[in-house]
Symmetry: C2
């Protein structure tokens, strides 16, 4: 991925702290083996929560899809413009799903396969094995489903690779 | 909101740090005036990014909807089960969109009204005025739109208030 660095204006302090509530176990051990997009893979991921958070799983067995937030711990944070592999033009990071971003929080809409005492099994996630989990949210179609949404730069890209999830 | 506290197993250390990349300006100055759900309001929100992140806005003018991630800075983090206002039963926080959660990251799917040199104007967000912004992601209908998604506990709730966004 070509990058345009914009550094120098930030220091290393942080404004808020995250806790890792669990880990996501996937078949992918390095970036090169990851699917470009969750929709490319039928693989399941096994999410294991740390013990204090397991009571938070209650009622997930009534839910079909969740939004998973996770920490892209290998991603650079000092990049604001990139040339994604799907294109030859530079775009702002906030117009892309690239893992490099000021706060490298990954997001996947995933289907629940099964709920366990210590976590859940899902499809539709393409992150590295061992990725730290930040949050699980129920997906409400009434507010989260926007099938009419458009991403113009992506629709006119010269290189028709799918986006990263 | 009734809460079931589960504390004592965690210390105050954090595993990763967030930077606030901007602020979200909304009409709502306190929790009681916030709409319960973004779909209840036609109000617009004005997002202003800190200067170093503004080049990241490039190409957002070609995009219709974004996923906004923000920091719910007033939310408690020591709660794993709650009785939401929409129900009389306790549920795990990960089955709800309540702001109280171990990592209080808020998420809204918002429609872009306009893109400015320093940020953007959107509809479909219900957070407090001044909420810190963490990330902006383009919404890809191909991977993010799941109109068939179901939230069983919510569909059978006794008190038919809408969910929080």
């Amino acid at each position: 991925m070509d990058v345009v660095e914009r550094s120098g204006d930030e220091d290393n302090s942080c404004d808020a702290g995250l806790v890792f509530i669990g880990r996501i176990h996937t078949p992918w051990r390095d970036r090169s083996s990851c699917p470009r997009n969750a929709s490319e893979s039928e693989a399941t991921a096994r999410i294991v929560l740390e013990a204090p958070y397991r009571p938070g799983l209650g009622s997930l067995d009534t839910i079909s899809h969740v939004i998973l937030l996770y920490w892209l711990h290998q991603a650079r944070r000092d990049i604001v413009e990139i040339v994604p592999p799907t294109d030859t033009r530079a775009h702002g990071v906030f117009a892309t799903r690239a893992p490099v971003r000021p706060n490298p929080i990954g997001l996947s809409v995933s289907q629940i396969v099964s709920v366990h005492a210590d976590g859940l099994t899902v499809t539709g996630i393409d992150c590295l094995d061992g990725t730290p989990l930040l949050d699980i949210k129920p997906y409400f179609a009434s507010v989260d489903a926007k099938p009419e949404a458009r991403v113009g730069w992506y629709e006119t890209r010269p290189n028709p690779l799918p986006p990263r999830g």
